[in-house]
Amino acid sequence: MDPSGLIPVADSIPTHWGWFYFFLILTFILHLLLMNTMLGTGIISLVRHIKKSNAPCPVCKDISIKLPYKIAFTINFGVAPLLFLQVLYGQFHYVSSIMMGVYWLSVVGILIIMYYSAYIYDFKYDQWPGLRLYFLALMVVLALVIAFFFSNNMTIMLNPEKWTGYFDNRSGTMLNFGDPTLIPRYLHFVVASIAVGGLFMAITWKFKQDPEATLYIDQGMNWFSYATLVQIGVGLWFLISLPQEIMLLFMGGSTLHTGIFLLGLLGVTMILVFGFKKMVWPTTAGLVLTVTFMVLMRDLVRNAYLAQYYHPSERTVVPEYAPLFIFLVVFILGLGAVAYMLKLAFEAGKEA
């Protein structure tokens, strides 16, 4: 069966596709950084707890307080790219979601449990020195499960050739184990989280006046550096698991693709150097840059997979720009309100 016959007809879009593309990339980068921080610090905290039994762990305590915030914002910044993804790629994404419908829908329940687990870890940190570990572990495991489901969804949507699998399984229990890119892609995000978690740990303790701060900063940077080393391996695994014609685009086949890849590699090199040198702020700047290039690369991979079927630029535009402008205005005002509230909070914290 010709897969292109299965691809649903796309609805028209209200503005030039570039806007959605910009928002998609931007919000996804933010989501990624937040998610990495959430998952990474969770993992680091878990490892520390296990290593130290129930001994005091100020790093963990600090992470426990922040975890619910991280989850909240990861979700908030997760719905944004999901929205723009559906605008530009909905005809692929809905299909893949349906094919794994049981798992996809279960994300909702899993997320609620995961989130409350983190709150319990946070609120009962001091009262339940023994039990708190299990709630943290639950949170981490559930987050890993959710991430796995996301990786499945994102890969199924890129492979219309696999969609005929629907006719053998219409119950929504399809996963993408047959795809060689699934595991390396998944691991690439998980290992990245560990790295970013470590960096966040370092950043956190940069701001604290604590005798152990330097130690924790060092430890955080170590997490970052070693995880990034592993990331390189995983990243290469990811690259070579791609279909050959796509992989070759990044290895000289296309100037744009190879250029972005090289910039990404450059970024990785930079942050490795800065990381091992424990230079927190340069590492941070380099990380944001690297993640940006990696996200762009990921998007190039996506479009390469779908090249024979679709590119967002071919969407019909039925212009309706006013809502966009209003959104931009509201966004700026919203940012202003947020900044103001944070300022109030910061000042109140100082006063208290």
């Binding site: 979700i75 349906i98 996809w104 947020v338 109030l344 006063e351």
Partner: protein
């Protein structure tokens, strides 16, 4: 049709959307009202300088944060996940229309999250004014996020001008936007009070607890009046049809509407009761009970809104099964299996009907119907149907009861869907329909001596078949009561139709004297027709033997209302029992002539095809209890009657006690449609586009393979016409009746039934000639112009009606006073008829008086009455041309 369908079955039919959405909105609206509650309660704490209130507010804020941020927010995302999985096409439409509105909502979410974090975590640490400002900011952002999503949800129900203009502002600021916004705001405030009950009930200090509970009660009760007012406003803004659905046209919504009304009262009382001083051990669980009632309250409202929107997911734009409205016609032409993308069985074959049916089910039905699940479980709904009934049901869905979409696709696809439901879901085997074996009942022809006999007695049943409904313990549409006519002719050169000095008697065939033993009509006659009848006697006073009465005008004797039934005492089923007729000299008692005629009667009405159940009697004939109850159940449901209750109480009803009917001289309720118009007008929707007599055979015992085979006269058998040649197709036939009622002023009732039906034999409704049932019928002379042979085989008598009842074939006479039927036989059994139970069972008198089954006097056999040949066509033109339709090869 664009997307694959997730086969959920048990938890299908919208279950996930319903579950996730109801719990979400219950928390989300609290997230809005509760925001105002927080800041105003904090203000109260400052105003009253109350540490207690402030502590309570902070605790409540923690509860608020934990509930709304986690459960509230994630279930909101959960709705999005669920609708993308179950209605991706609709979701895509909404996303692509409102993407930036959702982006705006997202900004408000982000600000909300930060606001509540700041509010809670700096409670007591931040300067009062600034802290309250943060609280206000939270509420403003929360309400603004309601503002945004409200537009999108309201759009689904009332897209308004967007349907024409495609303008997103028309879409967002649609007809129900403002009333819904107010409605939801008031409910949000009420929920703040309800949740407040929960946290207040946990306060340890009893005085303070009671104070806060009363405070929360104000939040619950004061907005209620405004809620109800905005509810009226909301309802008035809803599209006409949706409003009608909510107000009862969709029976499924009625309980939710009632629940909403009752719960409004219960919540009011609950709030008042909860304010009464009580121990904490009672208040704590009671608070949860009230909270749960609040959940039901919110749920009933959202259910009404969603269900009122049926059959659409986006009103008048996209059906609930994700099929765009504009595609309906193309789908009907080309087929759904051709146009949908995710289909394996594109071509229908003998072998893949069930699999293809399953795919059609997925595409068109599964979005609303679960299988063995809680939502609109398709299993009980379709259990009663066989293949034909299921296909017919699919034919009619969505037409009169428009909370469903119509079936879309080709006839074959519809049949495939029926196969799937009947064979796969219900595991029934499709039985080949086999012609029924009927015994030939022996009978002899009464004697006649053409040389010696002085009289010719002609007697006939005025209708070719009298159907009866033998489910009298549930209802009655056609009580027993055949009508016989007789004319006695004294033979002579100029014969005389004898009217004086004779008594014509009748007596039913042996074994049929006790109809009351076989049908329950006499057990319920008081309830049905208001008279306690003696057993075996009809309303007209006639029993199974008796006398005819003279009708001077018609110059005939009539025995009206002989309550014969097709069930004999020995257990035989015979739809053609004989009635012996004798003419007796009044003075001398001498028998002047005797003959017999069939009194055809049948209870083989096809209700069970769609209403379920089996035949009542010996598996061959009769309306069973199961069938009859289903009819009542549906009539009660659709028309808000209480017929089932009445039947169960032993008081079954005659349909014509409400529906006027010329057949029974019933006036009924003159505002209702007459019985034939109502029956056909309703059922036609389920039997459209059928060929030949197929639709008729579904209900009437006219199928040649049936037990009764009522159309057995020369036209049906020798000429091979079917019902439609005279009566038109079911659609045409129905429109003549409905138009008749429409022109009598019953425009709404008739109009509603006419809306979806097109005539087939004439170009438009304008060309349909209205008629009164039973009084206006097709006429022989329409085809037999000047009594001659019709122009061709393809003539039709449809749409030409007699003006007066006296002109009907069954009531008309020739120039000499002989009734047409006396020589030509009963309607639908005109000579020579072919009877399943004995070839000439209907042709007794022709056989008796002339030894041939043709019309009396056929083949120039005038001597039957005139004792000699005649050469003048006194009775009607063309009678000396000879018989055309002879038996055997022509």
């Amino acid at each position: 049709m664009n997307y694959p369908v997730w086969e959920l079955y048990t938890l299908g039919g919208g279950f996930w959307i319903a579950l996730i959405a109801v719990v979400h909105v219950f928390v989300a609206h609290f997230a809005i009202g509760g925001g105002l509650f927080l800041v105003l309660t904090e203000k109260k704490g400052y105003r009253e300088n109350s540490r207690q209130i402030l502590d309570y507010t902070k605790k409540h804020a923690k509860f608020f944060m934990l509930l709304t941020l986690v459960f509230g927010a994630v279930t909101g995302v959960g709705i999005w996940f669920a609708i993308s999985l179950v209605s991706p096409a609709a979701t895509s439409r909404l996303i692509h229309t409102f993407v930036y509105f959702w982006a705006i909502e997202w900004v408000f979410f982000m600000a909300e999250i930060i606001a509540i974090f700041v509010y809670y975590y700096t409670f007591g640490k931040m300067q009062r004014d600034k802290h309250m400002l943060v609280g206000w900011l939270y509420f403003v952002f929360a309400w603004m996020s309601l503002f945004m999503i409200n537009g999108i949800i309201a759009f689904m129900l009332s897209p308004g001008a967007w349907l024409e203009t495609g303008n997103v502002w028309h879409a967002f600021f649609n007809p129900t936007f403002w009333p819904a916004l107010f409605f939801r705001t008031f409910i949000a405030l009420m929920l703040a009070g309800l949740y407040g009950f929960v946290t207040s009930s946990l306060i340890k200090d009893q005085d303070f607890r009671e104070k806060m509970i009363r405070y929360c009660a104000k939040w619950l009760i004061l907005p209620l009046a405004f809620l109800i007012i905005s509810g009226f406003w909301y309802l008035s803004a809803v599209p006409e049809d949706a409003k009608a659905m909510i107000l009862g046209r969709s029976p499924e919504i009625v309980p939710f509407f009632r629940a909403f009304i009752w719960l409004s009262i219960i919540i009011l009382l609950g709030g008042l009761v909860f304010s009464i001083r009580m121990p904490g051990s009672i208040k704590r669980p009671l608070a949860f009970v009230l909270l749960f009632i609040g959940l039901l309250y919110m749920g009933s409202f959202e259910w009404m809104r969603e269900a009122g929107r049926r059959p659409y997911v986006i009103y008048e734009y996209m059906y609930s099964n994700s099929i765009p409205v504009i595609m309906e016609q193309e789908i009907n032409e080309k087929g759904i299996l051709t146009l949908a993308r995710w289909v394996e069985n594109r071509e229908l074959t003998e072998e893949n009907m069930v699999q293809a049916g399953r795919e059609i089910y997925n595409l068109q039905c599964s979005s609303c119907h679960s299988l063995d699940g809680p939502l609109n479980d398709i299993r009980p709904m379709t259990a009663k149907f066989g293949l034909y009934g299921m296909d017919s049901m699919l034919n009619g869905i969505g037409k009169l009861y428009d909370y469903m979409p119509r079936f879309m696709g080709t006839r074959q696809e519809r049949l495939a869907l029926a196969h799937y439901i009947v064979e796969d879901i219900h595991g029934k085997k499709i039985k080949e329909s086999v012609p029924i074996e009927t015994p030939a009942f022996e009978f002899d022809i009464p004697p006649f001596d053409p040389d010696r006999d002085e009289y010719v007695l002609l007697a006939w049943n005025n209708l070719g078949l009298k159907c009866i409904t033998d489910c009298d313990d549930y209802w009655s549409l056609l009580p027993p009561g055949n009508t016989l006519f007789a004319q006695l002719i004294r033979r002579d050169f100029l014969p005389e139709i004898v009217l004086d000095g004779v008594v014509i008697t009748y007596k039913v065939q042996e074994g049929f004297e006790n109809p009351a033993d076989h049908v329950a009509f006499w057990d319920y006659s008081e309830s049905l027709i208001g008279i306690e009848l003696p057993r075996n006697i009809s309303k007209s006073g006639l029993g199974m033997q008796g006398e005819f009465k003279l009708n001077d005008e018609l110059m005939a004797f009539i025995a009206s209302g002989i309550p014969v039934v097709p069930y004999a005492d020995d257990g035989t089923i015979n739809p053609c029992p004989f009635i012996h007729v004798e003419a007796v000299d009044k003075n001398t008692g001498e028998v002047l002539a005797r003959t017999k005629t069939v009194a055809p009667v049948s209870a083989e009405m096809g209700c069970k095809t769609c209403h379920g159940g089996e035949w009542r009697v010996q598996g061959r004939m009769g309306i069973s209890a199961e069938t009859a109850s289903d009819v009542l159940r549906l009539h009660d449901k659709r028309n808000k009657t209480d017929l089932m209750t009445r039947a169960q109480a032993g008081n079954p009803v005659l349909c014509q006690s409400c529906h006027p009917d010329p057949l029974l001289n019933a006036t009924g309720d003159p505002e209702l449609l007459n019985m034939p118009a109502a029956l056909h007008g309703f059922h036609v929707h389920y039997l459209t586009e059928r060929q030949g007599a197929e639709a008729c055979n579904a209900c009437h015992p006219s199928d040649p393979d049936s037990l009764t085979d009522c159309k057995r006269g020369v036209h049906a058998t020798t000429i091979n016409l079917d019902c439609t040649s005279c009566h038109g197709t079911l659609e045409d036939h129905t429109l003549t009746l409905l138009k008749g009622e429409y022109e009598k002023g019953k425009t709404e009732r008739a109009g509603r039934l006419m809306k979806h039906i097109q005539p087939r034999l004439v170009a438009s409704l304008d060309e349909i000639n209205p008629r009164t049932p039973w009084h206006q019928q097709p006429d022989c002379l329409t085809c037999h112009q000047d009594f001659g042979i019709p122009r061709s085989h393809e003539v039709s008598a449809f749409n030409v009606w007699n003006e007066h009842e006296s002109e009907l074939y069954r009531l008309r006479s020739d120039y000499m006073g002989l009734m047409c039927q006396s020589c030509h036989g009963a309607t639908h059994a005109e000579y020579p008829a072919v009877n399943k139970y004995g070839l000439d069972r209907d042709n007794v008198q022709p056989m008796q008086y002339q030894g041939e089954p043709y019309a009396i006097g056929a083949n120039n056999n005038c001597a039957v009455c005139h004792t000699m040949d005649m050469d003048f066509e006194a009775h009607h033109p063309g009678m000396l041309d000879g018989t055309r339709n002879r038996r055997g090869p022509n």
